[in-house]
């Protein structure tokens, strides 16, 4: 007998609800009190979409490492899309940074009230969040040039997997530190 819901139905339901609710986290600021709403929301949405996509990218390295046919091409496609989102989010981040540094802005406020948040959290995050751009583009270019020559367990596919893992780790550092800062003081 055919069940009412298949395993796929449950998986798709979970993924869609998770994506929808995660995206609502930056969207709460539509109702917020920021003076720089557009830049803040675009940076937050960009970061959320990027991190969700980077998780899918990270998962696609496993079939590549096992040498599954067509896996490098699928990984490369997803990685280029994620790289585009990384670049956009960095651009929005730079835009938002103008307001962050402005006189009477969050940087000044944090330095008065809790200096470690600017001097440690923000100073670390603003550099580490840049690293995914070269890491992701490097891995994507290597995949483009070597995708037909990758063998399971080879040092070459290991380097691509390493680059993408570091890419994901740096994205997550930027994401968590960013949410933490925004939770305490919105730009």
């Amino acid at each position: 007998m055919r069940p009412l819901f298949t395993a796929r139905d449950f998986a798709v339901t979970q993924a869609s609800i998770a994506a929808l609710l995660f995206l609502s986290i930056p969207l709460f600021n539509v109702m917020g009190f920021s003076n720089h709403k557009l830049a803040a929301i675009l940076h937050g949405l960009g970061a959320t979409v990027t991190v969700i996509m980077s998780c899918q990218t990270l998962h696609l390295i496993y079939p590549m490492l096992r040498g599954k046919a067509g896996a490098p091409a699928r990984l490369e496609w997803m990685l280029w899309l994620t790289n585009l989102m990384v670049l956009l989010t960095i651009v929005f981040g730079n835009w938002l940074y103008i307001a962050y540094r402005a006189p009477d802005g969050p940087q000044e406020w944090l330095l008065y009230h809790s200096p470690a948040l600017h001097l440690i959290v923000m100073e670390y995050k603003e550099f580490v969040s840049l690293y995914p751009l070269p890491l992701g583009i490097a891995a994507a270019v290597l995949l483009r040039r070597f995708r037909h020559a990758l063998e399971p367990g080879s040092a070459a596919s290991g380097i691509i997997a390493l680059l993408i893992t570091l890419f994901w780790i740096c994205l997550l550092i930027g994401f968590v530190f960013g949410i933490g800062l925004a939770k305490l003081r919105m730009v």
Binding site: Y97, R101, L111, L162
Partner: protein, 128 residues
């Protein structure tokens, strides 16, 4: 398939080295601006002045520019030099992973501020 066989493992080395050097360029320019802000910041500001909004982004725009330039320039150079040779990938992988983590530790602010000093806080300045 013939074309793919001609690609050398040196291309991987070129990528790893250029990514690390680009990242290190942002780190070094940031440490410079912490150590000697009076000298470094105007230069970094000028380097970043091609960027829309550089006037508000500040010296950070110059640090991003330094990283971008070093990454892409060294990638091009190494692609046409190391990239044409066969190299052993295992040592390259290990050295890259260690060097990458070393950079993540050095750029952790309590580490470099402990060595280079902490900036003055606005409410600890005389008369502040």
């Amino acid at each position: 398939m013939q074309a793919h066989k001609q690609r050398k493992t040196g291309e991987f080395a070129a990528v790893l080295l250029s990514v690390w050097l680009g990242i290190t360029a942002t780190t070094v320019s940031h440490l410079w601006s912490v150590y000697d802000p009076v000298k470094a910041n105007p230069i970094l500001l000028k380097m970043g002045s091609w960027m829309p909004g550089w006037w508000g982004i500040g010296p950070y725009a110059g640090k991003e520019t330094a990283g971008l330039l070093v990454w892409l320039a060294t990638w091009a150079i190494f692609h046409w030099t190391i990239g044409r040779k066969e190299v052993a990938l295992k040592p390259w992988t290990i050295v890259f992973a260690v060097a990458f983590i070393a950079n993540l530790i050095v750029i952790w602010p309590t580490v470099y501020h402990a060595l280079l000093g902490w900036p003055n806080m606005p409410n600890t300045l005389p008369g502040g």
